[in-house]
């Protein structure tokens, strides 16, 4: 029996999550803004219908949004992450294997039934997710990942499909592939798309049918695999277990330009504390730290973008050790009269905790080392229990002015008891 590959993703996922927990915005145009209330990253169907574009900076369309009475929300990651977990838990029951590809997107495989048609299965899955979670999804079904992506795209583009398309039983799959622009094929970057178009290859069908040799000479085995996937031969297996992380990054844009060394030190310390916490959660230690800063590209002065790295003598996940190494980098990067818009901390050369290479010059005697580890564990436990920042490192500052702007944040309606929605009994 043949295997089917399925791609399921949420329609306007962030905007849909907002409507799940707030009935007042159901049926209204709504947009969600990126970090720091920068750009529009998700639009409800009603907002799309108004012609509001994806990715535009908020400040540019603010008046247009107000005129149309569009609801504007900051990104509520606590809510989206919880709804994502609910979605993936539900999908796992419907598929034999699942690869969580992004917050609102998953590949899955299952065996095709004898009848060969999975459209009814897809519709039942879609109905369950909509009823149980209140989230609309699109289901693309095909023989390979690349084709499942295309099926998903086509399922969304045509309202008559009602969000489900099985390419294997599509009467005219060739015509459908011919309607998919080359730029929209999964795995085709901007440069490769331009190269294809120069050769008259403008859509998915033309890419499938072009000579393999030419494609291989241009982009090697990657291009060949892509073409084979388009021809229905699966060569991109599901990635089921996330490989151990090689790097951990925490970076944010500032709500207002950072112009003092003290504020930059606080920001770097805050990001590093968070990154170190992630590191301990992952059971890893970092061998190197990179701090990077960037000035605003919009403020007229020349762009200042710089990074600095320090290699640790011994890999560590002790916040105090990492802070001591990272803060001098902030000093090195700071320039007076260069207002900064963004900074970040990248922890690199990660290795497993139980793999600490023995070092002749251990920084601390074993007993002290173990006490430090217990201290970190206690701090993490307190912050988990009482909320992030319950125990804070002094280097992060008390009332920072630069924290991310999220002025239109909805409530953590599914993850925080104090913020759950109200149901009227009136």
């Amino acid at each position: 029996m043949a295997l089917a590959t399925v791609l399921i993703d949420g329609n306007n996922f962030y905007a849909s999550c907002e409507a799940v927990v707030d009935p007042a915005v159901v049926g209204r145009p709504l947009v969600v803004l990126s970090n720091n209330d920068g750009c529009i990253v998700s639009r409800s169907a009603e907002a799309r219908a108004l012609g509001i574009a994806m990715g535009v900076p908020y400040f540019k369309v603010r008046q247009q949004l107000e005129r149309h009475g569009v609801v504007v929300r900051s990104s509520n990651y606590a809510l989206y992450a919880d709804m994502s977990q609910r979605l993936m838990t539900t999908l796992e029951r419907w598929l034999e294997e699942l690869e969580v590809y992004s917050i609102d997107e998953a590949f899955g495989v299952l065996h095709r039934p004898v009848t060969g048609d999975l459209s009814a299965w897809g519709r039942a899955l879609r109905r369950e997710v909509l009823c149980h979670l209140g989230l609309p999804v699109a289901v693309g079904i095909a023989g390979t990942k690349v084709l499942a992506k295309i099926a998903n795209r086509a399922a969304k583009a045509d309202p008559a499909r009602a969000g489900v398309l099985d390419l294997a039983v599509e009467p005219d799959a060739d015509a459908l592939l011919a309607r998919i622009a080359i730029e929209d094929v999964w795995g085709i970057g901007r440069r490769l798309a331009r190269w294809c178009r120069l050769r008259g290859v403008a859509d998915a069908r033309a890419l499938r049918d072009m000579p393999s040799g030419e494609l291989q000479r241009k982009c090697g085995v990657v291009g060949l695999r892509l073409q084979q996937e388009l021809r229905g031969q699966a060569c991109l297996p599901l990635v089921r277990v996330a490989p151990p992380k090689q790097e951990t990054c925490v970076s944010r844009s500032f709500s207002q330009p950072v112009e003092s060394l003290e504020a930059l030190r606080q920001a770097v310390a805050t990001y590093l504390v968070r990154a170190a916490e992630k590191l301990r959660q992952q059971g890893q230690r970092a061998g190197a730290i990179t701090v990077f800063v960037r000035s605003s590209p919009f403020n007229g002065t020349s762009l200042y973008s710089q990074a600095a790295t320090v290699v640790l003598p011994l890999a560590s996940n002790d916040t105090a050790v990492l802070l001591a190494a990272a803060l001098p980098l902030a000093e090195r990067l700071f320039r007076p009269r260069k207002p900064l818009q963004k900074a970040g901390v990248l922890l690199q050369q990660l290795q497993s905790e139980d793999l600490l290479q023995h070092h002749l010059l251990l920084p601390l005697p074993l007993e002290q080392q173990q006490r430090r580890e217990r201290l970190m564990a206690v701090i993490d436990a307190l912050n988990r229990r009482f909320g992030r920042g319950a125990v804070q490192w002094a280097a992060c500052g008390l009332r920072p002015a630069w924290t991310m702007r999220r002025s239109r944040l909805s409530r953590a309606a599914t993850t925080c008891l104090a913020q759950i929605p109200v149901v009227q009994a009136r």
């Binding site: 009935p23 609910r86 539900t90 008891l417 759950i420 929605p421 149901v423 009994a425 009136r426």
Partner: protein, 136 residues
């Protein structure tokens, strides 16, 4: 709010050299210890919402102002059940009833009227209220 794995009681860790035919060891193997409260209250964590009640209209059904409701959105609401619906721009908790050949939402309080559900109206039945949580 973790709906997974709230366990009351301390799971027992028996010493490994305990004779396996000891009644205690057998009992522990059958039930490794503790009452999993979340499993008791929540059928499907992915489809469960927690909502806070505002208002007295369901007092007759044992639901009062300030209570927490565990709502199972994975169950299709049937007449007779206490349900949560999105009605206009708010959530509302009522008993689903049949009334003159259509569905309606009934309060459990004499001061509140019956709300007939127009099949074409702006509403959606979300799920069934499974548990009421109240501090005594």
């Amino acid at each position: 709010m973790k709906l997974f794995g709230l366990v009351l009681g301390v799971p027992l860790n028996l010493p490994p050299d305990l004779p396996p035919d000891l009644p205690l060891a057998e009992a522990v193997k059958a039930d490794p210890g503790g009452v999993d409260l979340a499993a008791l209250l929540v059928r499907d964590p992915a489809a469960t919402l927690l909502l806070r009640v505002s208002g007295p209209s369901m007092q007759g059904a044992g639901i009062d102002h300030g209570d927490l409701l565990l709502v199972d959105c994975g169950l299709e609401p049937r007449p007779g059940q206490v349900v949560v619906a999105r009605l206009g721009d708010g959530f509302t908790v009522k008993r689903l009833v049949r009334w003159r050949g259509q569905l309606a939402l009934a309060a459990a309080h004499p001061a509140y009227p019956l709300l007939p559900l127009d099949p074409q109206g702006d509403h959606r039945l979300l799920g069934v209220v499974r548990h009421v949580i109240r501090r005594c």
